[in-house]
């Protein structure tokens, strides 16, 4: 599927509006977005085929040497001088506030013209194909065990076209991503829910992976009916890649978003060049760091994608910035400026965040635990960049006794504690790594963007409750 024909037809309008606003602002950019999404779902009783979360519109960003100004609108057709006047009037401020604006450094607008394209296979599948696949998956899950009360299969994919125009920069990009979900509602001694999620840029890979997991998700549900609460305490823990990613993302990643540095909201600001994790730990973030759901070519500020090494051999080496925070800190932006949609502000945000693999074998890691738990599947997490306290919830854990996984499941499991204590406790890292591209991340309690996280298995010591 090619770049949005709608946005393609707006290149001239964007350039003209940049010129019209350029009379008043030294820096003007326009981001045009055309994101289209499809969602196909089936359960035992209902089906749905419809558009998912998408967007189509423009956001104009301006800087007058002091504050940033943004205006979000649906269309930029028509008289550009009149539109420029409307935009200037809309973002004007009360005089008392105009007197207390920031004074950022200069904004880089190095000339660049490039069109980026990553192909998908989404057009190989009709709506009918995808619905039939979902219905087959539901049937397969339902037939595995009569205690399956309901089963859900969901296929979702989006294509993203973005156009970025400044006085010197004309960029476009088009890419896509797909996710698949299996959910089982299971009766028996007690009612439980089990899930399995896949992410890839090819629907063919998603469908194959989901077909391979219909039995395991029902089996997991059966085990969860016997799960008990965990006895709160401090344990040796082996994480699966999902929980490793949760640690990377929630425990640490939010704390190195550099708009938090500007606001003095991040302890990490004072820890650059210091050990914050065990010396065997290496962590990255970046749209160009791996290939997953947040692998774009340029960010919503028109900055090319990076691979940022956040932690090198346990030492904090870099943070993640958007255009505004980098300008205030006098740094080069790292390509992490992201918006919930064209209607929302750009912030410094994570993309694909993960630990590098190590040298240990998973079986050796499990064998090294006298009594502890292996934790699986992210449920949710909450950041605290200022004070580095964490709360990360795993869907379930399996008890390890004398170096062996038992049949004892615990659910749910909440990890909490002080971030550096957790990261410095990393004592083993597996040689296999997986980045999981199915997450959504908010900043505080809003501004949702798609993110990936993951890495290898980690052995840590942490408080579980």
């Amino acid at each position: 599927m090619p770049f949005s024909s709608y946005l393609n037809g707006k290149r001239k309008d964007c350039a003209e509006l940049v010129q019209a606003l350029g009379r008043y602002f030294p820096y003007v950019s326009i981001l045009g977005t055309d994101v289209r999404s499809t969602s196909v779902r089936a359960d035992k009783r209902t089906t749905a085929v419809q558009e998912g979360r998408g967007e189509c519109g423009f956001v104009v960003k301006m800087n007058d040497g002091r504050a940033f100004f943004e205006y979000s609108l649906d269309d930029i057709s028509g008289d550009k001088a009149a539109l420029a006047d409307r935009i200037r009037a809309a973002v004007a401020t009360d005089a008392a506030l105009s007197a207390r604006m920031i004074a950022p450094g200069p904004i880089d607008d190095t000339p660049m013209q490039q069109d980026f394209l990553r192909e998908t296979d989404f057009t190989d599948y009709s709506d009918a194909d995808l619905l039939k696949t979902c219905q087959e998956l539901v049937k397969e899950m339902g037939e595995k065990d009569q205690r399956v009360l309901n089963a859900f299969a969901v296929l979702q994919f989006f294509t993203c076209s973005k156009l970025f125009v400044t006085r010197n920069r004309h960029l476009s990009q088009h890419y896509g991503w797909a996710n698949g979900h299996l959910i089982v509602m299971f009766g028996g001694d007690k009612m439980v829910q089990a899930r399995h999620t896949e992410g890839a840029d090819k629907l063919s890979e998603i469908i194959s992976a989901l077909r391979a997991h219909t039995a395991s998700v029902v089996d997991l549900a059966e085990h969860l009916t016997h799960a008990t609460p965990i006895e709160p305490g401090i344990y040796d823990v082996i994480t699966d890649p999902s929980i490793t990613g949760l640690i990377a993302h929630e425990a640490f990643g939010h704390g190195v978003e550099m708009d938090q540095f500007v606001k003095d909201r991040a302890l990490a600001k004072h820890c650059m060049g210091q050990y914050v994790a065990s010396p065997i730990s290496n962590m990255h973030d970046g749209a160009a760091a791996t290939h997953s759901v947040a692998s774009y070519f340029f960010d919503d500020d028109g900055v090319l994608a990076h691979d940022t090494q956040i932690i090198k051999d346990g030492i904090l080496t870099a943070g993640l910035s958007d255009l505004a925070s980098a300008a205030q800190l006098g740094a080069a932006p790292t390509g992490n400026g992201r918006r919930d949609s064209y209607k929302r502000k750009a912030y410094a945000r994570m993309t694909n965040t993960f630990f590098e693999p190590g040298k240990d074998k998973l079986e050796d890691m499990i064998a090294s635990v006298k009594h502890g738990y292996m934790l699986f599947e992210t449920n949710n997490g909450m950041e605290d960049p200022k004070n580095w306290q964490i709360q990360c919830t795993a869907e379930y854990g399996i008890e390890i006794v004398d170096g062996k996984l038992t049949d004892h499941y615990v659910s749910p499991v909440v990890m909490s504690g002080f971030v550096p204590d957790l990261l410095k406790s990393i004592s083993m890292i597996s040689d296999q790594s997986t980045v999981i591209g199915s997450g959504m991340c908010g900043k505080g309690y809003k501004e949702w963007v798609r993110v990936a996280d993951g890495g290898p298995h980690l052995k840590v010591r942490v408080k579980l409750g």
Partner: protein, 425 residues
């Protein structure tokens, strides 16, 4: 594009349709410390169209977005595609709400205010609380919205609701020679009262000052835990989700009509009502996304599941005669004990949690506590660095609710909820 409804009427494959438009104008201010970093404004229109196609005794539907820039030909193409998609979907039939016109506006005193002037007044009210030595507001975001929701369908529904709302996100911070700590403040309103804004931020400033001196208490301990309205609302939302028509029809809830959620308990009995409107709440509404008029519905009566609630479609699937419509506001009836009585014995009062974790399936409730007040029977002191957890079923059996009630966002109900015998680590 000429008119999406005219185009829908022209398409012979459509059995019914719904058009939902949300026009949003916003004015937004972003402060770094006291300095203005970004000024934003938006002027957008979201149009979502659902087409319904009846076939083979079933009803299919498909929803799509219409952007302002679509040509007639492009819009017709999208309609055709949605008709084809709806034709693939074979769900049990259901009726759309019929008839009813309404133009309503949530009560507000902000409708005639110039956004720029109002934004400055709100900023002044926020920073008026930034007067504590050692304290500061390190970041503040102010969002002023005017939303106009317009729902129409082929059955004659034509309803409009206008909402003026403000959201303030502020980060009160306190710094001493040893450390710097912060709390998160999310304050929303539909009626502007600068005194209330300053008082709310000042309350948070006082709490963050306590966080800097807070220490981890001796653990583990078993104690009574008090929750404040924000977390009580979270508990109620979890329960209310599990009592929705959709959850029941999809077998996604452990609860059934008639279940006693507090069986064998000796605490206050829960009476929870879904409400369309709670005064002052931005979540208040007169109709839902289908245009269904909202009917306040008691879902839990004295601990027993009395009704389900939710969308017209799933209500019909459960043979509910008059589905309630989708409501976001909650009212929890007052309890039997005073706040003073609840605080007469040792307790841990949660001020700031990372997030209340509640799992109906795993029978779990808990969370990481960033700031709480610990009363050991003799003195009260701020504590931090702890987590609490317990069995949800035990909490339900023995919880106590304060007689005093408050309105907090979409929640109206007791100011305090007591959970007995929680494990704190």
């Amino acid at each position: 594009m000429t008119n999406i409804i005219e185009l829908l009427k022209k398409n012979g494959g459509i059995s019914a349709w719904r058009v939902s438009e949300t026009a949003t104008k916003s004015y937004e201010l972003f402060f770094v410390h006291r300095q203005l970093e970004t000024v934003r404004a938006t002027d957008t229109l979201d149009t979502m169209v659902t087409v319904y196609v009846d076939h083979d005794g079933c009803r299919g539907d498909s929803t799509f977005a219409v952007s302002a820039a679509l040509t007639d030909a492009e819009a017709e193409e999208k309609i055709d595609a949605a008709v084809r998609r709806a034709g693939l979907v074979s769900n049990p039939p259901y009726a759309l709400p019929e008839g009813g016109t309404l133009r309503a506006e949530l009560p507000t005193n902000m409708q005639d205010e110039d956004p720029k002037a109002l934004g400055r007044k709100i900023a002044d009210a926020v920073f008026a609380a930034d007067s504590v030595p050692g304290g500061s507001i390190n970041a503040c975001e102010i969002f002023l919205y005017r939303d106009t929701l317009h729902v129409r369908n082929s059955g004659g529904v034509d309803k409009t609701q206008v909402t003026h709302r403000v959201m303030i996100e502020a980060i009160p911070t306190f710094t001493d020679e040893k450390q710097s700590v912060e709390l998160y403040e999310d304050y929303r309103f539909t009626v502007f009262d600068p005194g209330k804004i300053t008082a709310e931020i000042a309350r948070k400033m006082a709490e963050v000052r306590d966080r800097v001196i807070a220490e981890k208490p001796q653990t583990p301990l078993k104690t009574r835990v008090l929750l404040r309205p924000h977390e009580i609302r979270g508990m109620c939302e979890e329960l209310s989700w599990a009592l929705s028509y959709n959850a029941v029809y999809s077998h996604a809830t452990p609860f059934h009509l008639g279940d006693d959620l507090q069986e064998g308990g000796d605490g206050d009995r829960l009476t929870l009502t879904m409400r369309g409107v709670v005064e002052g709440s931005e979540d208040s509404a007169f109709f839902d996304e289908d245009g269904t008029a909202l009917t306040d519905t008691c879902v839990i009566d004295k601990g027993v599941v009395k009704n389900n609630h939710g969308s017209s479609r799933y209500g019909q699937y459960l043979n509910v005669e008059r589905p309630s419509g989708i409501m976001n506001c909650l009212e929890l009836n007052a309890g039997t004990v005073s706040e003073a009585e609840l605080k007469s014995a040792p307790y841990l009062e949660c001020v700031s949690l990372s997030g209340l974790q509640m799992d109906l399936f795993s029978d779990y409730i808990g969370g990481e506590i960033r700031l709480a007040y610990w009363f050991d029977g003799r003195e009260t002191r701020p504590v931090t660095g702890i987590t609490m957890s317990g069995k949800l079923s035990d909490v339900m059996k023995h919880l106590r609710l304060s007689r005093e009630t408050v309105v907090d966002g979409a929640y109206q109900g007791p100011a305090l909820l007591l959970m007995p015998e929680m494990t704190v680590l």
